[in-house]
Symmetry: C2
Subunit: 615 residues, 2 copies
């Protein structure tokens, strides 16, 4: 909601201002539509008719602009429904959104007058302040916490060194290409690295929607989605660091400076988000605000947004803060809310995220034609498009092998005698590696960052980034569903995390209920995996847990299954200390009625969380 | 959500632009933050450091602005909770919101630099496009349709001739006062009438919140609320008509032109709203979009907004369209939605309306100090403040007597023999008249309209309107609760309309369940009134149905009660034809499963409205 109206209105306003400009050649009047008051004795009105845009006219103008933009959004939503209804997998909704944006952008470009064209350019601040927060907040809130923290090693490996490798490889290729001088583009290495950083932020939006639609294996989903969330933050920090060195010679120490800056940034942002989430939990626990669910919902939403703006205001990463604020809200504050607020918050986060997602892609499509200053260099675009594949290849495959090696070493140490190398399955099998590579499409974060590029070739580089982003969304986004099938990756998995509030999704086909219906805690992952194994409907045809467990009846697979469970126990033991600490110290402090909190949460969340005596 | 972020961001942006202006003396660069690309061969960067506001800096600046504004909003929400929790009736939340706005406005005014001050001025387009729609939409959606259409005569009488009388009286007084020339303010009669029109729009927001909080007698609530909703539309049309005659001599025929314009405007707007509502109902009926509740919720919200922008774009009244779109959505489309969308839509409308309401008053308080161009004329403000009371008095009391007379005549005709004048109770008793007078506080619609004033004394008049609006909100809004008690008006009434979706409001104390729990249709009002009479908890202490039915045991009251019921039957017969038409023709066309639609709606709405065969 917030996202698109913000932009719509801004567009409408810019357009209205441009229109005002057209009737009034004096450029100083742009932000001063109200005429200055004349002296009281002066009878002849100093305000000419062209000088004064009456709010009525202004309002009608902006009404039409808003109408058209909402219409675009409705078309995109309608297409999403149509695609889902007809089970069309070849075309994805994001591709259609971009396409709609491009069509309207082309019409605007070809139509006479430049006012609307000026109005619909991409504004990075709107993107960062309005469109992005709902998506990140919803991601954090809906995140499967068990899966996320169980795969944190893989996620962090891909997110931190992965993004760094990708940016450096891409930057190096670009620098070398431009150094050839074929297209008279001459950029410094720092600028090339900046572009590398912008194009290393993989997009959480498209992946989220595709993987959600097909209910892809949660582990793969978590790794790719977690990486794409965190590497946005890393890209932003890398980009900002590069921009600080713009025009200055880069030294070797600046690499370490950048790494230190990043780690500090990440930690502080995480703490801000967690602290605000805990603050909300305590606020809800120690007040009776749950008696007024309307105010409660507004407050939770507002305070969550505050974490983003506060963090950004402190030069930290708002994305990381908001993500962890969402996670903390779901982990603690959720259980202190009134039932109505639980439902309201969930649905509002989802609705805002849905609208923002659709709008971002319409907006990207629009800017392709309406950004008049862009300088397109075809060769550079092709080279960049190829380079991002190379860069992602360099990041994904070596790091996957590193993670596999890490887990294998650890497993061998833990299992001691009966650990044989062949029996231990890969943590990230080849299919997953390939899919992670394929899912590396770039999104609007890159474009928004690229708006901040400096120097003579700003518009050349911006055009390159924009086109490459749109290309990756169309090519990789359009083929992700097909790729999932080609690689034989398990689809149709149950997202347990989504169960708790969806008693109203009666139209959605539901699988047999999972035995342990509680919202998962870190410790009960194994039992859930087992429950999933047994509760998947026989006609789902999906492969269980990983693609190499194709025939559950075969002895080898059973053995592997056993090893896998043993491994899960080993690795979940790593996070056991936190689970214990959480259950015994944190939850009694943050939650309202912790006695039956973690055990019977499901029943708990459907009855309100308050002690009768506190009425 | 949409409302405040819109404004927040705009403020942030204006501020950022002003900051950019401060580092760059060239005013032409205001909307051109991106430097023009230099020639590729030119090595010296044409972009100076002060010329270029990097998106990073811009983002941090807007982050802080947004942070502060959200903080204000959180404070206002928190105060609302505190007041409700402590049962403090003396101070109302709207007064506190204005107060917070004033404090921050004063701080901004006194602090050095004019950038933020420039940034937080009241913008009428933001108000009309972003803050107002959620409130109107939610009003229409939550409107008690039975009460509204049963009191349509009173509502329309107050809304149409009432607003007209009020505007003319106020305009005449203002014209005469300024003609005296005491403060050297010289305005034409048309301008005075314009100000009269802006100050005749009573505010739905505060009344809605106060009357909802105290659960005032539904009839009085409906009349005052219905009037305040519709007279916004009438004020806007009157104001626009007056502005067309600005600078021209007004003729007698322009009165009729204005009335004709208004009637056409009202009818077309109503039709647009109803048609879009019906369109949504048909869309939901004939597609399977309910299977995708996320898309469904977004679509319903977007299409409802479209009615507002479309209507405004066609020079019609968006408020009227949106109001009737909301009513139609609730009357038809609601029953075709999936259960999840029913809940989502209701909660989102409420949340958006709540945030907009709070923000409007903060914004009003802010502009009192931050609108630098305002010219305050103390005498004019006092005269205007007194005049609006006089004008409202002239509108409310004669028209109430007219309505009472109308109903008495009709009752006598219908009842024939046993109609005696004394026994027939007033349609609008004196207490209700007094309360209607008292509830005539003015709101942000007036201020937003006054932004469009033209002429030399624009800022004098704008300042007058702004101060008078804030005064009425503080004085009348602050004393409404007390006045309800002084007049002995029934409070603690059950709002049946609110029941259907509130199974999650477990913390809210609930009265004994009403016998006929269904969402009311036009025809079953009497049975509901009876149900209310019998089901009100004995300790509520409220007076039933009207203040003159104090002792239900006395014979006179029983007789009156009987007459009242007879009257209800007579007057509800007027709308019987529509009820029949609705049940027999419209509902089968618009609703999905109409067979058990109108009778068992309650059970119907808790199970999804789809035919099993359509899965």
């Amino acid at each position: 909601m917030s996202g698109f109206t913000q932009i719509l209105l801004s567009l409408a306003f810019k357009a209205a201002f441009c229109w005002a400009k057209s009737t009034n050649s004096d450029p100083d009047d742009l932000d001063d539509l109200l005429p200055t008051p004349g002296s009281p004795d002066d009878d002849s009105s100093p305000v000419g008719p062209g000088d004064d845009v009456s709010p009525v006219t202004e309002e009608i103008f902006s009404s039409w602009a808003l109408f058209i933009m909402l219409f675009l959004l409705i078309s995109a939503l309608w297409s999403t429904y149509f695609l889902a209804q007809r089970r069309i997998k070849a075309v994805h909704e994001t591709v259609l959104s971009i396409f709609y944006g491009m069509v309207v952008g082309l019409i605007i470009r070809l139509s006479p007058g430049h006012y609307i064209q000026d109005a619909v350019t991409f504004n990075s601040s709107y993107f960062f302040n309005i469109l992005l927060p709902p998506i990140i907040l919803n991601s954090g809130y809906e995140l499967n916490q068990v899966n996320f923290f169980n795969n944190i090693v893989s996620i962090l490996t891909f997110a931190i060194p992965g993004t760094f490798i990708s940016a450096v490889v891409l930057g190096a290729i670009l620098y070398l290409w431009t150094a050839l001088g074929l297209e008279k583009v001459d950029i410094s290495f720092v600028d090339a690295l900046s572009v590398g950083a912008t194009l290393s932020a993989t997009d959480p939006v498209t992946i989220l929607s595709i993987f959600n639609a097909y209910k892809v294996d949660p582990k793969l989903y978590t790794i790719i989605f977690g990486e794409s969330l965190l590497n946005d933050a890393i890209s932003i920090v890398m980009f900002e660091t590069c921009q600080k060195f713009h025009g200055k010679p880069a030294t070797f120490s600046s690499v370490f400076e950048g790494i230190g800056l990043f780690l500090m940034n990440f930690t502080v942002s995480l703490l801000i988000g967690v602290m605000i989430g805990v603050l909300v939990a305590l606020l809800l626990k120690h007040t009776l605000i749950r008696r007024y669910p309307r105010i409660e919902s507004c407050l939770v939403l507002m305070i969550a947004y505050e974490s983003y703006f506060f963090s950004n205001g402190c030069h930290m990463s708002g994305i990381v803060s908001l993500l962890f604020c969402g996670i903390t809200l779901k982990h603690y504050a959720y259980y202190n809310m009134s039932r109505r607020t639980q439902i309201t918050i969930k649905y509002i986060f989802q609705l805002l995220a849905q609208l923002s997602e659709n709008f971002i892609f319409i907006y990207l499509g629009l800017s392709l034609f309406t950004e008049v200053e862009l300088v397109y260099k075809p060769m550079l675009i092709i080279v960049t498009a190829i380079s991002i594949c190379v860069a992602r290849w360099c990041a994904v495959f070596p790091l996957s092998n590193f993670v596999n090696w890490l887990y294998r070493v650890k497993a061998q140490r833990s299992m001691g005698v009966y650990g044989n190398d062949a029996a231990i399955p890969d943590e990230i099998p080849y299919q997953y590696q390939m899919m992670t590579f394929w899912a590396g499409l770039r999104g609007a974060v890159g474009v928004a960052l690229a708006m901040g590029l400096q120097g003579d070739f700003k518009f050349t580089l911006l055009a390159t980034v924009l086109v490459v982003v749109v290309l990756t969304v169309i090519i990789f986004g359009g083929t992700t569903a097909g790729m999932l099938e080609v690689l034989g990756i398990q689809m149709g998995c149950i997202d347990e995390n989504d169960d708790s509030d969806d008693e109203f999704d009666i139209e959605m086909p539901k699988p047999i209920n999972i035995a342990s219906n509680s919202v998962p805690t870190y410790s009960d992952e194994i039992s859930q995996n087992q429950a999933m194994t047994t509760s998947l409907p026989p006609n789902s045809g999906g492969q269980l847990l990983s693609p190499d467990a194709v025939q559950p009846s075969s002895r080898l697979s059973l053995e592997r299954q056993h090893i896998r469970e043993t491994l899960s126990t080993i690795f979940s033991a790593d996070s056991q200390w936190f689970t214990n600490f959480d259950e015994q110290v944190l939850k009694p402090v943050f939650l309202d009625n912790v006695t039956d909190g973690s055990q019977s949460r499901k029943s708990d969340s459907s009855t309100p969380n308050f002690l009768g005596s506190r009425r």
